[in-house]
Amino acid sequence: MGNPLSLDPLFNIGPVPITAPVVVTWAIIAGLALFSILATRRLRLLPGRTQTLLELIVTTLDGQIRDTMDRDPAPYRPLIGTIFLFVLVANWSSLIPGIEPPTAHIETDAALALIVFAATVGFGISRLGLKGYLATFAEPSWVMIPLNIVEQITRTFSLIVRLFGNMMSGVFVIGIVLSLAGLFVPIPLMALDLLTGAVQAYIFAILATVFIGAAVGDPPNRAKSPKEGTEQ
């Protein structure tokens, strides 16, 4: 098992070095794409087991987004849902022997956090306009502008560090226990790692939802409520 803090390229495509997390991510993308195409090929009004599972995932996702943002989940569903499914599958990919989860490398977590940051800014501007979005940094007072800017950066870093720390530590612990105790001893720790992976995927997706929701402002039915002011 390699050091998760350093990446060695497996091969190069021109000047671009291709590392293990990228290859595993490609495999995850291929697997999810293949599953999506096959599972949604024959959707019916009376669903089967697979369709029921897919609809359960989508409706649960919509419910979480609606509960968190109090808005129509349709514009945010692809991003939030993809982040959740990708992080979940990436975290659980550690169950396959010899595979390190991409989320155990800081580049993948940073890429996810950067996308969330960009989506936060993009949804905020599209919803409030550039001036309106920038004005949110001066709430509740212009004195808060530096703190709000720092908050934007730090919470992005917190996303990176939280996911990276949890997944990297899990890989480390399992590697250490496996090297010291033997083949079957790390199994309980791997089961715990499954739970940790699912929880981290949920936390990452929910935090992304909260950040985007805060950027787009109050929901339409609460926007003019004088007592509820700002929630960011």
Binding site: S6, T19, V58
Partner: protein
């Protein structure tokens, strides 16, 4: 710790590509199917509501129809009762009219029967009186059947109109009927009395007729002069019958 910026960039692109793939091949079709199912459910609910509304309307219409039938039935029953009452009254009136007619007919028949009975009794009384008179006449002397009636006959002829009297015995014998054959004396006396009354000589022919009981009957061309007991009894009987009727 160092960051591999190539890996960071590639992972960013990978995640964005995955966002597009899942949006295109997973979330969109599943969401579309959920929307279609919700639309189908709403359509089914709308159909059910429409069917329910139709059923409610049909039930209300049936209720109205039942109420209408009940009203018609009540009206028909009332009309039937009125018709029956009217028919009953008509039959009663007809029966009363017929009864009155029958009563009147019965009264008429009873009156007629009483009249007929009275007539029969009168006739029997007349016959009985005739029989009694005949028996009594038989007990009288034979002269009494003629002698007492000659003057009466002459007086009756004298009271006849002049033209009638002129026709009696004009060129032919006077026809007479008598209760018995006249004796010569009686015939002479009768001829004398008639000549005295008529004022000219006449011949007489007498035909015996015991049914006259007593007396004489003159048969002129235009009149009959009766002075007989039988004629008297017939007159009495007719008078009695007229009074009884």
């Amino acid at each position: 710790m160092t960051i591999d910026w190539w890996t960071l960039g590639l992972q960013t692109i990978n995640v964005l590509v995955l966002v597009w793939i899942l949006a295109r091949f997973l979330f969109r079709p599943v969401t579309q199917m959920i929307t279609e199912r919700q639309a189908a459910a709403h359509a089914a609910l709308d159909d059910a509501r429409a069917a329910k509304a139709e059923a409610e309307a049909a039930r209300a219409a049936a209720k109205d129809a039942a109420a209408g039938v009940a009203n018609d039935r009540t009206a028909l029953l009332a009309k039937a009762r009125a018709d029956a009452e009217q028919e009953k009254q008509r039959l009663h009136d007809e029966a009363m009219t017929e009864l009155d007619t029958l009563r009147a007919d019965a009264r008429t028949e009873m009156a007629q029967a009483a009249k007929d009975r009275q007539q029969a009794l009168s006739e029997q009384a007349g016959a009985l009186a005739l029989d009694i008179a005949a028996r009594l006449i038989d007990r009288l002397p034979d002269e009494a059947r003629i002698a007492g009636f000659i003057d009466g006959l002459a007086d009756a002829v004298a009271k006849l109109p002049e033209a009638t009297r002129a026709a009696i015995g004009d060129g032919a014998p006077v026809d007479l009927r008598a209760a018995r054959a006249l004796t010569d004396a009686e015939k002479t006396r009768l001829t004398d009395r008639l000549q005295a009354v008529l004022g000219r000589p006449v011949d007489i022919t007498v035909t015996p007729d015991p049914s006259l009981l007593a007396g004489l009957e003159l048969d002129a061309a235009t009149a009959i002069v009766r002075n007989t007991l039988r004629a008297d009894l017939d007159r009495i009987e007719a008078e009695v019958t007229r009074h009884d009727g």
